[in-house]
Amino acid sequence: MLGFAQLFASRLVKALAILIAIVVMNFFLVHAAPGDPAMVMAGEAGAADEKFVEQLRQQFGLDRPLHEQLATYVGKIAQGDLGFSYRQQRPVWDILAERLPATLILTLTAFLLALAAGVALGTLAAITVGTWADSAITVVALLAYATPIYWIGLMLSLLFSIQLGWLPAFGYETIGAGYTGLAHAADVAQHLILPVITLALFYMAGYARLTRASMLEVRGQDFVKTAKAKGLSQSHIVTRHVLRNAILPVITVAGIQAGQLVGGSILIETVFAWPGIGRLAFEAVLQRDYQVLLGIFLVTSVMVILFNILTDILYGIVDPRIQAAR
């Protein structure tokens, strides 16, 4: 158990280092954004006279050397100050905080669904390798892997909400219904179905393919031969020996792809008008609200780091060697 704690601590330190690097990168992106920030701010504030701009420069320390500005910036980030959106006239963090829960629900559910369904389908395909079930899973996975997620989203909503009317096409809840308690939860869940399936489908396809390939590879390894030579039943061999070993690369890839999944929420939230950070990103792009956009960049990066820690813990649980390797 000590090994596990140590592992966890070292991962946290690493995550912190990556976070700092991202903050620094963010700082340089702010500076790369078109136009003099002061001019932009002044323009957004609706006054562009020279004196006001100069005043803004001093106020925000834009006349100081770059490294001082960086230090100020990092200091502010550390205090949770992600800047100010002049378009919305609100601090960036307030805007983000309001949208964060919706995105967390969406991405986390999709991530777990993709992982669970992907591993299940991949396992099924590997067990039935060469049969119609395997072929069907392989073809579906291949198609899902080749389809842009926003298009799947559009087509699913075209089918299930516009044509069939089964599920709501967009939004987080039924506006004006005034549901509370369980009814509200059920309402949100209903709104959640299409976005989650859409977001999960692409990654599920990837994990299914990977699980299948990994299972087939592990099946040929020596220890599986040992298990067969012990006279164990086929199902026991698959669940206890093959699957557990085969799942390790899937977890690794899931961790690496967490970033893509979080990024994909921009598209899904845009399609389904899901009021999360992704939808906010789309609005910020339309309005060229760079402060908000960069805030989103930072917050989503933190989300990915959290997802990575989650997969690390999963990996540590499955593979005893990790805890002892230190």
């Binding site: 070292s10 020596d222 040992t226 006279g231 164990l232 039943s233 070993n245 005893p320 230190r326």
Partner: protein
């Protein structure tokens, strides 16, 4: 007449179309009785493992399948039994131990549990009784702290310990037959001896019938009651151990026995003349494994105060078990590793003090022959180019170098036309000849040969050893011969240095090391040589004439 424990009748195993031959095993017939050890001997591709796999239902179906014959266990054909019944035999009545202990255990499952699985599948024992039995089994195979060890994961165990776990697993349900497929091949020689002793003791105690698959006649001499020799899927000789070992009839058996490396008694001591060619002084090297930003790396001492002298024309054998650091010294001499301290003097110049540019001329004079003939030739280059690349790098005209390559190929016993072909068209032994030609192309004075025959079949081993011996005599080369096999060293070396844990514990002439070892560890090594009590028949003592390319 009683029914034999195992009766194999006319067994044939078909390979998929496109394989190098239609039948992996061809009309094989033999029996195995209770309370005996049958050694099945053969080189790679002889079909010996395939036979064992057929018995255990482990053939990679549907590609490979039994096409004829029967496998009778106590009179009943295993092959026609329903799957459930076969499964209850497997691990219950017939158990198997595999070659590679490092990969044969599930890395994610505690070893006790892996043994317990067998008991769970074949006995009605409740969990606590199973656990007690597991601990008892681990104790029986000589593992320390069995109760603690049962909770360990395989990666904590050494190769020898893992093989003991495998044996405990096989013994779990008191099988009638134990199949051991090269169970000691992947182990160091001292560990091999311990495992062989264990297997023999367990077999005698439980009166099991045992089928022991091996390629090594030394091992056969150590444990066999009866012997079956296989070649290309066919049984070529079958009889009592004493007969086959001492009065082999079939030419192939005779060739295999003649190829067993052994100390040649009438070899003269090498007369050291002139200044030493190479002197290694107090070479030290520590590797740091693991380690990262927040972790301390673990130091592994690979070389600790290594000193060694090689005279012109002398062959020095560097013998040690895995991890003893023997390769470290060889790689330091050819400049693949930079030692932490010490000196390596080649004709008086300290190689370690030279920078890359200064070292370059010495690259020509010291050359290396590598271990794995499958990995040591670039698969995308033609043989001729592979040999010529070195001289060309030193400014020789390419056409001239290619012409020389053909001559060298002839010298190592290959046809000159081999130069235009790619490595995959050649067998392991032939590739090793190419590797030797590549080293010779540089016209070296010292050849470092790092386990040059350990990846080869025994009969090919003999041929390559002879080639090396012949060439170094003809060209007056000095050689540092690195090997884990004392028998091989004894056959080709003038001087032998024995290494253990990064130190040279003994160095002397082959004769002295073999007949009057001074160090206790050397004695342990000598004692561990399988079949040391067996005297190879006199008419086979002299190695066969070098035939055509292997």
């Amino acid at each position: 007449m009683t029914v034999p424990l195992l009766d194999v009748r006319g067994l044939s195993i078909a390979l998929p179309p496109g394989a190098d031959r239609p039948l992996a095993v061809d009309n094989l017939t033999f029996t195995l009785n209770a309370n005996e050890i049958l050694c099945v001997v053969g080189e790679s591709g002889s079909g010996k493992s395939m036979t064992a796999h057929a018995m255990m239902g482990l053939l990679p179906h549907p590609h490979v399948r039994v096409s004829a014959g029967s496998l009778l266990f106590k009179g009943r054909d295993v092959l026609t039994m329903p799957e459930a019944e076969q499964r209850s035999l497997r691990g219950g009545r017939i158990a198997m131990v595999f070659q590679e202990p490092m990969t044969a255990l599930n890395p994610l499952m505690r070893v006790g549990r892996q043994i317990g699985e067998s008991l769970r599948a074949h006995t009605p024992l409740p969990a606590p009784a199973r656990h007690a039995r597991v601990v008892e089994l681990l104790d029986q195979v000589g593992l320390p702290n069995p109760a603690e060890l049962a909770d360990a994961y395989p990666f904590r165990l050494s190769g020898g310990q893992r093989q003991r776990v495998m044996i405990a697993m096989a013994l779990a349900c008191q099988p009638d037959i134990l199949i051991a497929d090269e169970p000691t091949t992947a182990l160091d020689v001292t560990t091999q001896k311990q495992i062989l002793d264990l297997i023999r003791a367990i077999q005698a105690e439980r009166h099991m019938g045992m089928m022991f698959i091996t390629h090594d006649f030394g091992v056969v001499a150590e444990i066999a009651h009866r012997v079956a020799v296989m070649r290309h899927g066919k049984l070529v000789e079958y009889g009592a151990a004493g007969d086959v070992l001492n009065r082999p009839q079939h030419p192939y058996t005779r060739q295999l026995i003649a190829s067993v490396p052994h100390y040649i008694e009438h070899r003269d001591d090498h007369a050291k003349s002139g200044a030493p060619l190479l002197v290694a002084e107090k070479v030290r090297k520590t590797f740091h494994v693991g380690g990262g930003l927040f972790r301390k790396s673990k130091p592994v001492v690979a070389g600790d105060d290594l000193s060694l002298t090689i005279h012109p024309g002398e062959t020095v054998g560097l013998v040690g078990e895995s991890g003893s650091g023997k390769s470290t010294l060889g790689r330091s001499i050819v400049g693949l590793i930079k030692p932490d301290s010490g000196r390596i003097l080649f004709e008086g110049t300290d190689l370690l003090s030279l920078d890359a540019k200064g070292f370059r001329p010495y690259r020509r004079r010291v050359q290396m022959v590598f271990q794995d003939p499958y990995a040591s030739l670039n698969p995308r280059h033609r043989i001729g180019d592979i040999i010529a690349q070195g001289p060309v790098a030193f400014g020789e005209d390419r056409n001239k170098a290619l012409k020389r390559a053909r001559e060298l190929l002839a010298m190592v016993g290959l046809d000159g036309s081999a130069a235009d072909r790619f490595p995959h068209e050649f067998s392991g032994g032939q590739r090793q000849r190419v590797g030797i030609a590549r080293a010779l192309a540089m016209e070296p004075k010292l050849l470092v040969a790092d386990e040059p025959v350990s990846a080869l079949d025994v009969s090919v081993q003999g041929q390559v050893l002879e080639l090396l011996d012949d060439i170094r005599k003809r060209l007056g080369l000095a050689m540092l011969f690195i090997t884990h096999d004392l028998r091989v060293a004894a056959q080709v070396c003038d001087t032998i240095a024995v290494m253990r844990r990064g130190k040279i514990v003994e160095m002397g002439t082959s004769r002295q090391v073999f007949t009057h070892p001074r160090d206790a560890y050397t004695r342990t090594l000598l004692d561990a040589i399988p079949g040391k009590a067996w005297h190879i028949p006199d008419d086979l003592q002299k190695a066969p004439v070098v035939g055509a390319a292997s």
